[in-house]
């Protein structure tokens, strides 16, 4: 064997000799170095005493064994702004995600969050910890399973596969593209087939992005919970460290480094539950009776638009009016709402929004001002047929694009826009001239 290492070193032409860790030397430094092997899963007596200090127990089934940590929360347990029991009231709001499937009961939702050994959904990325959460009677249960080495995976998945069938919905954060495909991978790799069960996804990453894309610096769950769910984590182990901590455990056999990973995963699941509560209330249009309205017009507009897409009725208008009356509203937010009004044929408010956008854009955003002027020029040319007004806005648009020219921006799209404004101006002038002749 050392022969192979020597050959590899020669081929790689490494000058500094790399030696494998010398087991004797390592032992001097640390006491309890005991790499994890198969034997660790045979019999309770070998379960490392360190596990019990943070509530981890052994679970066996006909396919082998693995570890589990179960935490039970009463309904009034508060995690930030929300209490977990609110799910009972809020869950029916989530029906907007899958209207054809009726109203989700709190017991039909399974929360899922994986901790994995790598990134991506390749076949070599192993979820060493599977965290699930669910409502059970008068409590919210977080159940986290962990494999002490990869050979325990089959036993863990075997139980998970049976459990999944009791639920209809799978609530995740980015689970549509990450957690769930990864679970599917692992089932196939372990010759367990899931053919008869397909979840209805409640993936809250996409709605979170729709609502907070421009108001929060990041749409990571840990950031959203802090900014919008009133949750502060103390001594949290960042998720990105989880693989290294697991590898450290595999190499040394001491469970201690994994405590932080368990706590992190548990917090993620609780935050996910609270996020689902928030969206559930929002979809029932009750949310801002419980917490204050957003301050920024952008978030008001985005929330309203998202609610509209999900079939909302009253609340979006409330939000839009707040945005309209916000003196600090950014021109881009107003334009976004105007575009939606234009599409819906709600011209009256669209015109107000464009006019307001011109004011708000001022000298700050020639681009937004340009867009609003063009929209108003089109509106007056085609709908009110007030050619003079149309020309006035077209000329204003012309001035904006000339301002923009000063800053470069002479790409293809920009030139096309400039041409189209020129055409509009001359067309409007011709129309005016013709009228003059008729008179």
């Amino acid at each position: 064997m050392s022969g192979l290492r020597d050959r590899m070193n020669r081929l790689r032409a490494t000058t500094g000799e790399v030696h494998p860790p010398d087991p004797d030397k390592e032992k001097e430094g640390r006491q309890a170095v005991h790499p994890v092997t198969m034997e660790d899963s045979d019999g309770d007596e070998s379960l490392h005493p360190g596990w019990s200090t943070f509530g981890v127990e052994l679970r066996r089934n006909e396919s082998g064994s693995y570890l589990v940590r179960r935490s039970v929360y009463p309904l009034d347990h508060r995690h930030g702004t929300h209490a977990v029991g609110e799910l009972i009231g809020a869950s029916s709001g989530l029906s907007a995600f899958h209207p054809e499937a009726g109203e989700p009961t709190p017991e039909s939702i399974l929360y899922l969050d994986l901790e994995t050994t790598g990134l991506g959904v390749g076949t070599g990325n192993v979820p060493f910890m599977i965290g699930i959460g669910y409502m059970s009677g008068n409590s919210f249960v977080v159940e986290q399973t962990l494999i002490r080495h990869p050979a325990e995976e089959f036993a863990m998945l075997y139980d998970l596969q049976k459990k999944l069938r009791n639920y209809t919905y799978l609530a995740t954060y980015n689970g549509k593209t990450f957690d769930w495909p990864l679970v599917q991978n692992r089932m196939i790799m372990n010759a367990l087939r899931l053919a008869e069960w397909t979840p209805l996804h409640l993936d809250f990453l996409h709605p979170s992005r729709s609502v907070w894309r421009n108001t929060l610096t990041s749409c990571k769950l840990s950031h959203i919970e802090e900014e919008r769910l009133g949750i502060t984590r103390l001594d949290d182990v960042p998720g990105s460290l989880a693989p290294q901590l697991y590898f450290q455990y595999l190499a040394e056999g001491d469970p201690a480094p994994l405590e932080g990973v368990f706590r992190h995963n548990e917090s993620d699941l609780l935050s996910l539950a609270c996020l689902s509560i928030r969206f559930g209330w929002l979809l029932q249009e009750q949310i801002f009776e419980r917490i204050p309205y957003p301050e920024e017009a952008e978030e008001l507009v985005r929330t309203g638009l998202w609610l509209n897409r999900m079939g909302g009725s009253v609340l979006p208008e409330v939000l839009f009016n707040r945005a309209m009356n916000n003196n600090h509203a950014a021109s881009s937010s107003l334009l976004k709402l105007a575009a939606s009004d234009k599409k819906a044929g709600n011209w009256e408010r669209a015109v107000l929004l464009w006019q307001k956008a011109i004011v708000q854009a001022g000298e700050r955003s020639h681009k937004d001002k340009l867009e609003a002027c063009i929209e108003l020029a089109m509106y007056h040319e085609h709908r009110t047929k007030q050619v003079e007004s149309a020309l006035a806005f077209a000329l204003q648009a012309m001035a904006c694009i000339e301002q923009l020219n000063l800053y470069g921006g002479r790409d293809h799209k920009h030139r096309a826009e400039q041409d189209s404004i020129r055409n509009r101006v001359s067309r409007l002038r011709r129309k005016l001239d013709r009228r003059g002749m008729v008179r």
Binding site: R10, G118, G122, G124, V126, A151
Partner: protein, 760 residues
Amino acid sequence: MNRWTGRAENLEEWLGQLKANESVMENVTHWRTLPPREASFAPLPKDLHPAWRDALRKRGIEKLYSHQAAAYEAVRRGSHVVAVTPTASGKTLCYNLPVVQSMLLQEEGRALYLFPTKALAQDQVAELQVLADLMDSGIKTHTYDGDTPPTVRNAIRNSGHIVVTNPDMLHSAILPHHTKWVKLFENIKYIVIDEVHAYRGIFGSHVANVIRRLKRICRFYGSNPQFICASATIDNPREHAERLIGEKVELVDNNGAPMGEKHFVLYNPPVVNKQLGIRRSSVLETQKLAAMLLKQGVQTIVFARSRVRVELLLTYLQELIRDKLDGKTIRGYRGGYLPKLRREIEKGLRTGEIRGVVSTNALELGIDIGQLQACVLNGYPGTIASTWQQSGRAGRRMESSVTFLVASSNPLDQYMIQNPDFFFGHPPERALIHPDNLLVLIDHVKCAAYELPFRAGERFGSESLEDMMEFLVEEKVLHKAGDRWFWMEQSFPAHNISLRSAAQENFIIVDMTHDNRVLGEVDRFSAPTLIHEEAIYIHEGIQFQVEKLDYPEKKAYVRQVDVDYYTDANLAVELKVLHVDKEKLTGDLLRQYGEVTVNAKATIFKKIRLRSHENIGSGPIHLPEEELHTCGYWFSFSEEAAARKSKNEMQFALLGIANVLVHIAPLYLMCDPFDIRVVPQVKAVHTQRPTIYFYDRYPGGVGLSERLFEVHDELIAHAKSMITSCSCLSGCPACVGPIEEVGLLGKQQALELLQEAGAR
């Protein structure tokens, strides 16, 4: 002759006129006429599905060529097959026939097609789609490569019957995500590998390992596909295919495609300076011949060895032929043209709209451009196999065709042109791969472990699996649990492993004069002599000076300059023999093959004035030593031979021989001349005698030196005949090298020493 246009009526007549043309014929060193070959047919197989038979009839196929029928039968018998076919002999039917047949019989069956390039894959899909539509069979064929839009990928994964891709995609996208391809892997019946001769050297060694991984994944899903390979004519198609796929293979080589009469003309540009052995530029001569053909209205393909030459020839020819082609055109073709443009050119060639094309070897592979009438090769393409492939682009089934090979002044070209019997009498080169090169193997063992845990008792290559596993456990990428080893690392191994680049760490050359654009790349082993600081680096004829070499970051920053000198660096090479695997003593000459380490350190560089070659300055090079562990072959002369020459004379003699050998070694290998290196030593450490070493310039070796060890006698004989037959007086770049390098007596010294070597 047509008395209105002055054009010959047909190619035959034109060739007759050419034979009377003194100014051309005096440079023709050899004219060989290969007789036409009759077609050999076989009926469509009896068991062929009626729908398939109808579809073929609609395409005008009523019967098969003998090799197509043989391939079909061999596949239906259950053998793995390699079919060897020259250009344009209906090769694709060799595999489409059995694959489509099987799919008509068994709807769930799947097949995977591998092509070395994306362009080839796209041609194939178009062809198969036409056939499937004719049958109304619902057989779906899709390409799956880097250009496939994400939106359709999922559909292809689930419902493509025939998935057409390339080895790189298989390596980095399909295999590591095999769980998304369950349908394919559970039902895969055939794996088609076209152009297997393209998978040689280090690229082929990588691909052989990708195939090992592919077979492993197929086993996991309970399938055991059959391989159907197709190859151009090479010396060892069966052996090569067997090494590539790791299975016994049945050879089908009874080519039944007809061929018209073929004229093969070897053309050597005239000598313009006899003493220095300088000939007229092969580009100018190529241009002259191509222009003659095009003016006659003969549809012609010109092959050039570099992109720059393609552009150069194209510009010349377009200029020259303007107004003479009735509005039809001459086009260029090379990698780097956009796919849409290439499709357009291919179509133009098929319809005859395009009368001439100048191409790199990109058109050598089986892209469908129909058959042309004439082919002009600018320079020997490097291998006999490529020469036949390129020449095969000209030659219609019923008509005569002509190929001109215009030699450059490169020694290999000069050898080929002066020894036509070598070219016409020799089988094409052997395709060599070394799938068990330890570095390559370990890379793919990592990828394989990522895809599926290894279990004790499995095999992967010739190395002991336990040893490799233990090594990777120590490297902390695998974790052992029970009798299995699991990938336990955050990275995605396939991303860091490229199948195509030999040395993975190339140096990038950044042009600071033009917005830091990247000019090109230089491999790690050439970097110290080519891009040390102050070196003059020449790119497309423009001089650049290296201002800064960032060695750790592997970047050289250059600035455009205009100076009247070039730089030449001294490389001190130390060669250590680690282990002798084979040896043979013939007379006084000892030759050996084994493992070597090469330490190379660039010491100083000289500035040499252009044209006069005087030394006008020098400077030191401060760069770390490069070490390469690889395979080598060497031979050493007797002590008596050494005693007869002064140290200086011996130096020149060895250098002369080395210069010849490095150029003719590729005659026996399908490789780039830079893949193998030669080092002469007057008194080698290992042998204590005058010795010439060859080594594979890739860590671990790819089998090149080993092959040279085997053909040593022939190699020496060729070297000798090449020096004797060269027309120069005392050495020239086409044989032992210029006299500035090997001295006034270099040629004679080299010959004397070869005499010692007992060369006949």
